[in-house]
Amino acid sequence: MQRLGITGRGLVVMLPYCWLLLFFVVPFLIVLKISFADIDLAIPPYTPLIEWIGKNTLAIKVNFSNYAFLFTDSLYLNALLNSVKVAFVSTVFCLLIGYPMAYGIARAAPSTRNILLLLVILPFWTSLLLRVYAWIGLLKANGVINNVLMSLGIIHEPLTMLYTPFAMYVGIVYSYLPFMILPLYANLEKMDWQLLEAAEDLGCRPWQAFYKITLPLSRNGILAGSMLVFIPAVGEFVIPALLGGPNALMIGRILWDEFFSNRAWPVASAVAILLLIILVPFMMWYQSVQARESAGAK
């Protein structure tokens, strides 16, 4: 091995990179390629990028019309904006719910802390699809929530919750909450609580101490958690499709429709690439936050 210049360490690093190359970079390049092709009634349903015309001429046909199409039809931009909005609102709700939870777990006694953390992770042991279907059972017209409220006499006819934006938000916030709680917890758990006593000693009321000390010190945790929720939520498909009803215009759904209903692979690929381009800055930001976090831990 040494003679070949491959060390054990190199091999360990190389393996995941090979994996990523094979299952991420190559498919990405294929999608990129398709996005520049034209629709065709064939299998696969798009024109090849490189073609022989005549005997000695190799033609590269790059078709930008798919991208142009995305900007001419307002459907795509609206879906994109709507996805960003839904992801943003969901992130805010995840933060508002997740922060107190993470704070509570971080300040709990060490023995209770592990149980509480387990409870946060526990839902991952069931498939996401199952859990989303469970929400249908809870939210539908003759579902658990409506039945309980009616039997208590609080409402007299069932509330329409399923297939509304409300149901979609509930589903997304519920599903992504652990991704908010875990990085926040990891951050708050390292916090020196004596700093809060010091702040109180210097004249802060408890809420002022939280605002001036805890919040700024947990900034990296907030950013990490928000990115972990926001980035996947933008492209979320399953939850809006199952809970959100027909009006939930999300980019993930458009993608699905273009690919499978319209068989417009080139347009769908262009949508995917555009989505990626929009998300790259957020991912880079997240990376830099992560780097800062681990540098700060030293």
Partner: protein
């Protein structure tokens, strides 16, 4: 522990003459600045602080000294408002502090870990408390600058805490607590995180700073040397109780119990029985020592009572020739010698098996050496032993 280093304040009661005002704790008319009244703090069954009453006077450096878990930090945290007493009351400058939260107390604390805010610069850390009090901006700038100069950190104002050394951080913490001009400054093991050389240096800096600002200090420490150096008075704590409070000299020379004698400095304790009990002197027969101890002052104890005579290592003389008299003399063999440069420690084994510790200053460079296994006579002055009954 050799002779304790004394602060000017600490020597005051001993050297007090007619022209010098008596120490406040000796003056029944003096009003205590901090008054702790029968304070108890229980955590479930465990009493961390047990019925403590204390009076601390303005301008004092009062040290709470004790081993870890003796309740000294809990007592300090109750002064700061971080713990509420289970029973009893605390007055600061005449005001009842019961139920007053930390952010409304005229008290500041320097935490053992310093608890500097890592996301703020030195300047921002020090200014934090003043901003909280809505002090005018120009005044904040001025007071922070003055305070940073006072702790010699003027040129470090824009650094973050993680860019400072341990000693510098300690001074930032001190500046942050002092800049609010508290009535009372609480210091939790203020020098615990510093290395020995720096600690000694900082002790004297702390005293001169306190002298300059006139703030009353309450210091918690487990290090008796630190307590001796800093304190005007020391309260020795054990199992949540104050077992003795007094000046460093009183604590060292007149310990009230075996525990205090043993905890502060090193000491040789001989158990014995009172055989003569007169107002001017007592004589104790000690089996442990294998002789009699003559003490030139009376004590209050029942006749025939079991008592303990405590003799400090530096107050024992060692000689190769037998000294005069039969009291306070015992013979033994040198078992061990530790040469420390300025002084040497000798461990002498008595025929009874008891090992006695003696320290002698190395006054000469070519002293007549006493070596291992040599037979020596140990003796001490009748005024040296302290007799305690518990």
């Amino acid at each position: 522990m050799s002779t304790p280093l004394s602060t000017p304040a600490a020597t005051a009661p001993g050297t007090a003459t007619a022209t010098v005002k008596p120490a406040p704790w000796k003056d029944p008319a003096a009003r205590p600045y901090v008054q702790i009244e029968r304070v108890t703090k229980s955590f479930g069954e465990f009493k961390a602080v047990d019925d403590v009453s204390l009076k601390i006077y303005k301008g004092e450096i009062f040290c709470l000294l004790g081993a870890s878990g003796c309740g000294k930090t809990t007592l300090l945290r109750m002064l700061g408002g971080f713990e509420l007493p289970t029973s009893g009351r605390i007055f600061i400058d005449g005001e009842d502090m019961t139920g007053v939260p930390p952010y409304e107390r005229p008290v500041n604390m320097m935490f053992q870990s310093y608890a500097l805010f890592p996301h703020m610069t030195v300047e921002q850390n020090v200014a934090f408390g003043l901003k909280q009090d809505r002090v005018a901006r120009s005044e904040i700038t001025e007071r922070v600058a003055t305070m940073l100069d006072l702790v010699k950190l003027g040129s470090f104002a824009r650094r973050k805490p993680h860019q400072l050394s341990g000693g510098q951080r300690q001074r930032v913490a001190l500046a942050r607590a002092l800049v609010k001009r508290p009535k009372l400054l609480l210091l939790d093991e203020p020098l615990g995180a510093l290395d020995k050389k720096l600690r000694e240096h900082t002790q004297f800096e702390l005293i001169s700073l306190q002298d300059k600002l006139g703030v009353t200090f309450v210091v918690v420490t487990h290090d008796q040397e630190e307590a001796m150096t800093l304190a005007s008075r020391i309260g020795v704590m054990n199992h949540g109780e104050i077992v003795q409070a007094g000046t460093p000299t009183e604590i060292y020379e007149f310990p009230s119990s075996k525990f205090v004698a043993d905890f502060v400095g090193s000491v040789n304790i001989f158990e014995g029985k009172l055989i003569e009990d007169e107002p001017e002197y007592v004589r104790i027969a000690s089996e442990e020592m294998g002789g009699t101890i003559y003490v030139s002052h009376g004590i209050s104890a029942a006749p025939e009572a079991v008592v303990w005579a405590a003799v400090r290592p530096e107050k024992i003389f060692m000689s190769t020739a037998p000294p005069e008299g039969t009291d306070n003399v015992v013979r033994g063999a040198v078992q061990d010698i530790a040469y420390l440069g300025d002084l040497s420690i000798y461990l002498v084994r008595l025929p009874t098996g008891k090992v006695v510790r003696i320290t002698q200053p190395n006054t000469s460079r070519h002293a007549e050496a006493i070596t291992w296994d040599q037979q020596v006579y140990l003796s001490w002055d009748p005024s040296s032993p302290v007799v305690v009954t518990r």
